[in-house]
Symmetry: C3
Subunit: 427 residues, 3 copies
């Protein structure tokens, strides 16, 4: 069986996160973790579809899995385009299509593998939801799927199972042909093709109730991080340097070359990447700190995802997501709670969270004393100057500054040492 | 002898402090402390006059003292109204009227008790002042009080003794009648009644030079706090959790369930309430922290009174007074010193202090990086957004925000990792 | 041989630094250090020329060196005026003129001493530069100096040697006469006199390649500080009080009466002056902290020169220079890095540094949460209020404030404890 992993998408919904595949969770990127889990479930033959923007990086990264990397030329063709990109590499093999951005337990992969051995033509992972979910519900009759109902009205769901993109097709050629018959203008081309095939072929649900975490909206990164952090086992590299007075509590992984300075605290679960510096009197808790980052003096990073090469100095960063190469001036703050403690929206979408900090892309500079409000998105390659309160999303490649309106008059107070001492003495 | 404790007042001068009676000093409210001291001095029969606003709370709180709680219906009638509220409960007993907001040594109560055994009709505590005080001076001739002179001009004081509301009346019925004869429109009705009685009855001064602290203006809370803190003896609850690297110095009381995290410092005298959390690398000194409050990472609370359920995060709070349920965003600051280090006014009244922070009521949210200037009053149920400098009093129930005037242009600097490394190398 | 030390200058280029002579490096002022090095090189007879503004202080400070202090009446007459100020005190002695603001190794003084014993009339220290330097180049032919070329065009330098003010004149009377012949209107009067003398007398270069650090622009203080710090040997006064949990690393000098509180870190090389307090959880690294200063809780001082009687509280101060008696409110920041990490200019002059904080004079008050941008100069006797971003130089004696434009409306959110707990529970 060949496994097709969808890794081409440049999701607008996840912006300013640049490429979800390469988000590094505890030292391993999401795409590596996905292939690793599939490998553990016994899959070996990986076809990974990327785009021009990430093909090279995917190739390099996935070499250990002997994955074949394909380029989807036209990313507008969505999932259908991705499937067709591997057409020539798939002969009479079974084809297992797996979303790169839906994280499930290894068990789900095993269930798919086992199911595919049974009679039937196609097998779709049917995820049992506990409440209403705004996704594609499966119409199931007996042990057969008759259709997919996209975002039904609440109360009108055809089942309690939704469609996750873990699909086995035993006759992929038929799928390719079906895809080609649907207009490329449709953005639900793959679903249309399935719909037609369902009428003539046997589609079976593979029911699953275990862990599932999509990475669709930025804050999903925090959910997924929590999942991965919870699997950590304490491990401190022998090349890490940890000051005697530093406190390392709980399940903490400290990678090679990291330095933890005096009076710092790392409260697990937490992952401290390679060559990271945790400065004096800093605090990191329930967070991932990417390689080469510096959490300087007196900073707190709480429940946040921090990319590589980031730099902090006396900052508070809570429930936030930062890409690579972001720098914060002294005193800058990532706020993570509304004053009224209500649910935080991000890009206009309710996040379901009352704690959520800002989301930053890559290559960002934040000036001293600047605050970024909860759920605010800051696009890559952006500079924001000092002393500002950022309460609106900032798009990519911007320089943000404020008005300076200093008023200056003559100082009439006497400020010398003598006056000061006199004042201290009496008043 | 029956002791009448005046606890109905809703002082405007103490605003935004909501009810002085319930200010909790080291785990006990002011009103409890007053009754406790009176009990120690041998008094047993307590009549406490409250208002509709606090009657219930008083009843609950003062049960251990078997105090009878009375409601003064019309709070505009002031002290006279309060005295008349207990008329029916007082028969031929001596009546000892005690202000709830004047704190004196137990000795003062004992002096009153002893004096009342001597001949005479009424006995007033005569507090010997060292300098001029803008209050009611006693006109004393021999061992008799002839009158009270309200706020005499400086230099024209009739004696060096002022009238504190610790008054024993051996014939309270006569007092009630005298009060009824004065117009309810007068706000000095009680004083007028005394004035008349003095002409026909023997009023004696009970001279006292010991500790006296009124709670009239907000900053008096800090003076009183200092008094109570200075009586503390080190005591750490066995249910408190104190990290090994935390430093607890001097006379510190840590109540049940409190947690002191690594590298925190508590410098006595200080009182840490029940279930309080003192976060990593935080500092508390010479302060009271009310139950359930959280002094988060990297915060300093110095010489401040903090109510219950307050929450801090990388804040500086100096010489400040906070009610219940106040939250501070990361980096917010309570400033406590003028730039010119001169005396700080509060609500237009000179405080006699050159160190005084802001005064906050209950249920207040302060955004990240917001600063509140020395002596500023913030009314209850108020939100103040981020990044502001608050240099004016804010009344109750307000939402305070600033202008956001971001200017945004294209970023022209190259911010990628390579450029950064190049810069680091040379320049 | 008499040594004339030039200490009268009130350099505008070094502003807001008030008097470079009195900058105290590790417990000793620059002028003392200069005389000390000269003493070590065997010189004994010091004539120090100051002005009305510093004569008294020089007299007091240099008593141990038995230096004679002279006052230059007209400071506009520059170096020529300074030299002429000692005319009457110099008879037939050799005269060694030394700049107070050029720091060289003791070896340079020894070279001058040795050279003066050889044949020739005047001897000028010839400092070998490695690249172009915008100063006075020596025209050298064989072993003789023929002239000085002020700031030649790059590529047109007459030699690789520049003129430093370490000049021995064997016939000072001739120099005095030559000086008198040049118009007092010229600001290169001394150089003109030399130029004339060179034509009739033998001027020899004394070649030198060792350490040289001028103190011309403010940031030179940081270069010089680095030089002096690198010579420190760990030494902790027996009268210093150092908490058990404080960390003192590397070559650190802690002077008498200093106190280092719990969880503070001092990272050498660093000099902690007399009676300095380093507060809880504070960090000082590669810095000089002047006597009586207080580095309060949670502050970081990095690579900075801090004068006497300064006061910090939860501040970040990086690569900055502060005079005496400067105070910072909580959260105020001295920024030391541009967002684009490019070279920082100071007073319009490129500093050659990408890390440089602000430069402050004496007697300055900075409000809470105020940020001062990299390379900004703040003149003495100035107050800057809270919450501002200072991105322009501020001249002496100013009071700087901002616009307060609070908007206030009714708060509609319910902020009480119950609502909060409800929110925490679910959402």
């Amino acid at each position: 069986m060949k496994v097709l992993i969808l890794a081409a998408g440049r999701s607008q919904r996840a912006k300013p996160i640049e490429d979800k595949n390469f988000l590094s969770f505890c030292g391993k990127t999401l795409i590596e973790r996905q292939l690793e889990e599939l490998s553990k479930a016994g899959f070996k033959d990986f076809l990974v579809v990327g785009g021009a923007h990430n093909k090279e990086h995917l190739t390099k990264l996935l070499r250990p899995f002997k994955a074949k990397i394909f380029e989807q030329k036209n990313l507008n063709e969505g999932m259908a385009g991705a499937v067709l990109a591997v057409e020539k590499a798939v002969k009479n093999d079974d084809l297992f299509i797996v979303s790169g951005n839906d994280v499930v337990d290894q068990k789900a992969y095993e269930l798919m593998k086992k199911a595919a051995k049974e009679t039937g033509d196609s097998f779709l992972l049917a995820y049992k939801v506990k409440g209403y979910f705004p996704g594609g519900y499966l119409k199931i009759k007996g042990n057969r799927i008759n259709g997919i109902c996209e975002k039904p009205e609440k109360g009108k769901e055809p089942s309690t199972f939704i469609n996750l993109v873990l699909h086995v097709h035993k006759n992929p050629k038929e799928l390719f042909e079906a895809l080609k018959k649907v207009s490329t203008a449709r953005d639900d081309r793959y679903e249309c093709a399935l719909d037609k095939l369902m009428k003539i072929r046997i589609f079976k649900p593979v029911k699953y109730e275990g862990f599932w975490q999509p990475v669709k909206y930025p804050w999903h990164v925090l959910d997924l991080q929590k999942h991965y952090l919870n699997t950590l086992k304490r491990k401190i590299s022998p090349t890490a340097q940890i000051a005697k007075t530093a406190i390392i509590k709980g399940e903490v992984v400290i990678a090679d070359g990291a330095k933890i300075f005096d009076h710092a605290v790392v409260q697990g679960p937490a992952y401290i990447g390679k060559n990271v510096v945790i400065g004096n009197n800093a605090l990191v808790r329930e967070s991932i700190i990417g390689d080469n980052s510096v959490v300087g003096f007196g900073s707190e990073i709480a429940r946040s995802f921090i990319g590589e090469d980031c730099w902090f100095h006396t900052n508070y960063v809570g429930d936030s997501i930062l890409g690579e190469n972001c720098s914060f001036g002294a005193g800058a703050v990532c706020a993570n709670l509304r004053l009224d403690e209500k649910e935080i929206a991000c890009g206009g979408v309710p996040s379901g969270r009352n704690k959520l900090g800002p989301i930053l892309g890559n290559n960002i500079r934040i000036g001293v004393q600047t605050s970024i409000m909860p759920g605010i998105k800051i696009g890559s390659n952006t500079q924001i100057t000092s002393g500002l309160t950022i309460a609106e999303d900032i798009s990519e490649g911007k320089f943000v500054y404020g008005e300076t309106n200093l008023k200056i008059k003559e100082n009439k107070a006497i400020l010398d040492k003598k006056t000061r001492e006199k004042m201290k003495g009496k008043l």
